[in-house]
């Protein structure tokens, strides 16, 4: 993906609405947000999509080397979120500590922005 072009511009927009295999693509709203954030950052040129993909492969690989293949704790989007966090740190889009702090603010409802 070329960073100079918007992702949306690159994609066809004249198709009728399908569902992916008739099943929900995202099980929880946060999964859709994490997905969208990762793509948006790539489309805006903060990293190459391939860099994200490599980060995702590493994240999945770490989990799989630490768990049995049938481990029920598997969550694709948790691995996706970890890959995203690693990209944010690598590209210095967030500074160490601020993500933990803001997460804590959301957890104890000191913040309640809705996205």
């Amino acid at each position: 993906m070329e960073p100079s072009r918007s992702l949306i511009d690159d994609l066809p927009a004249d198709q009728a609405p399908p569902r992916a295999n008739g099943e929900m693509v995202f099980a929880e709203p946060w999964e859709a947000r994490a997905f969208g954030i990762a793509l948006a950052l790539s489309a805006d040129g903060h990293y190459e999509w391939e860099s994200f993909r490599q980060s995702l492969i590493r994240s999945i690989g770490r989990w799989e080397s630490a768990h049995a293949v049938e481990d029920a704790g598997w969550s694709y989007y948790e691995r996706w979120l970890e890959a995203l966090e690693n990209m944010l740190a690598e590209c210095e889009l967030v500074v160490p500590g601020e993500l933990d702090q803001r997460t804590e603010e959301f957890t104890r409802r000191a913040r309640d922005e809705a996205f």
Binding site: L11, P17, W30, R33, S42, E105
Partner: protein
């Protein structure tokens, strides 16, 4: 293994992931790194405009136009781009054709690479460690669990998308469809038939 394979997610973990994702979006918005509607646009696009209907149109056209089929198998990326299907994860597409004696199956052993412009986002099972681990090793058994019995004499070729290439299967045209139009053929092309876990839908016998 199949689409019914369920995982239990601890509510605490889910809550933490949700809060962490909110924190990320909140920080990126505050810093002006992403615009207020960028993420919404991406999600809406993927939920509404991208999906297996695109791939089905490509397949139906290949079934009805021999010249297009030849182009599709020789230079898939260019052929599908000519129909307006390109963009993220569609940069290098290769379509592989089922034929008598050969059945194809797609997998991404390392992560979840998938031809988004043609098939949308991958279904749950495609991303599952069990499918990713087993598809390449024992495809015949995996396909049987999906309900597809491949005859012993038919070779199964498994395509691992972990390189830069995203694969899609061109299923065989079902019998009894001679003379059918593109519009009639498209509904026969199920997502599973383009992943290789099933065959194109047979025509309902009357």
């Amino acid at each position: 293994m199949t689409a019914n394979h369920e995982h239990y997610h601890h509510p605490e973990t889910e809550r933490h992931s949700a809060a962490r994702t909110k924190a990320i979006e909140s920080l990126l918005l505050e810093k002006g790194i992403i615009g207020s509607d960028t993420v919404d646009k991406v999600i809406t696009f993927f939920e509404t405009d991208m999906g297996p209907l695109n791939g089905a149109k490509v397949v139906a056209r290949a079934w009805t136009e021999p010249q297009f089929r030849e182009w599709l198998l020789r230079d898939s990326t260019a052929a599908v781009a000519s129909m307006g299907f390109f963009g993220a994860e569609g940069e290098h597409i290769r379509v592989v054709a089922n034929e008598p004696g050969v059945h194809h199956l797609i997998v991404c052993t390392l992560c979840s690479c998938y031809p988004w412009p043609l098939l949308g986002l991958p279904p749950y099972w495609f991303k599952d460690p069990v499918y990713r681990a087993r598809a390449a090793i024992e495809p015949r058994a995996v396909l049987r669990e999906f309900g597809l019995d491949i005859p012993a004499g038919t070779e199964i070729r498994v395509w691992d998308s972990s390189a830069q290439i995203r694969y899609m299967v061109l299923p065989e045209r079902p019998a009894g469809t001679a003379g059918m139009s593109m519009a009639e053929l498209v509904p026969l092309v199920t997502p599973g038939s383009m992943q290789g876990i099933e065959l194109a839908r047979p025509v309902a016998s009357t």
